[in-house]
Symmetry: C2
Subunit: 153 residues, 2 copies
Amino acid sequence: MLSQTVEYALRAVVYLASESPAARTTDEIAAKTLVPKAYLSKVVQGLVRSGIVRSRRGVGGGVMLSESPEHVTILDVVNAVEPIQRIHTCPLGLVSHGARLCPLHKRLDAAMAAMEQAFAATTLAEVLADPSKSVPLCDVKARPKPKKKRASR
Amino acid sequence: MLSQTVEYALRAVVYLASESPAARTTDEIAAKTLVPKAYLSKVVQGLVRSGIVRSRRGVGGGVMLSESPEHVTILDVVNAVEPIQRIHTCPLGLVSHGARLCPLHKRLDAAMAAMEQAFAATTLAEVLADPSKSVPLCDVKARPKPKKKRASR
DNA sequence: CCGATTGTGGATGTCAATATCCGTTTTAGC
DNA sequence: GCTAAAACGGATATTGACATCCACAATCGG
């Protein structure tokens, strides 16, 4: 249902939120979120273009959230990567009845609206603050303390 | 968001519902719903396999709804063609925390649930009975009376 | 200025969704 | 049984999503 790219983008952004406001390299994000390194860099480029994250090249560079986690909703991220397709006009070519949607597409759009609403309802900060064990992604090593990590890659 | 195949399947099924319980040929369905003829036949085959519609070959044959329009929901059709992907287990490989979803995927699944709910809430009969001008699909020629139609194809 | 690091952009490969075509099978009517 | 109608099934494009690789540009520490 949701594209793989959206899934990847959300993982990356949630991880960045958990480290906010620090920057992280795409290599590290990829390792932590289990996203293919090369592809993640493309996904991140999209996030940069849409303004969700900012990047800096070179030594000590990386990617960071543009805004604080309380100000970014899941919908913001989804729309940045692959906008929710609301149905505004008849998918059949017929212009015959103007802007009014037929009964079927009215329902389909309502379903899209419901999903959009669900995405808009949660900020990254709320995801991180979730009561059910603060495990950011599905596991991401459960980062207990910001201790110097090395190896693994 | 929704695949083209789902869109086509819904158009076909809504059209069949409007003609229910009569059977219609895929050629006619294609013409009325503006779906590519050859591809529609594949989509319909899927609907047959999943039991949403029944078909009969040969002269006078065609495709018809298996059940009356009141008994078929939009969700039934969607799931027959391309099941809504609920998130039951962590998309990352990690089995480490069992069946429990992380905060992020709990939200994503909630969004899927919202959409599923919206689809489940409407039957084909309700789509046809919609108050806003009973235009079945977006237009489908507005079929005023079941008068003998010919030509057009 | 030099070199290591890190994001950027382009070229390319792979695969599933979309779409078309056509021969085969089933069925009804004669 | 013969023929026309119609669904079925397989083979084959075409396209975009997913993914990889690599040369280049920017940036920092010395």
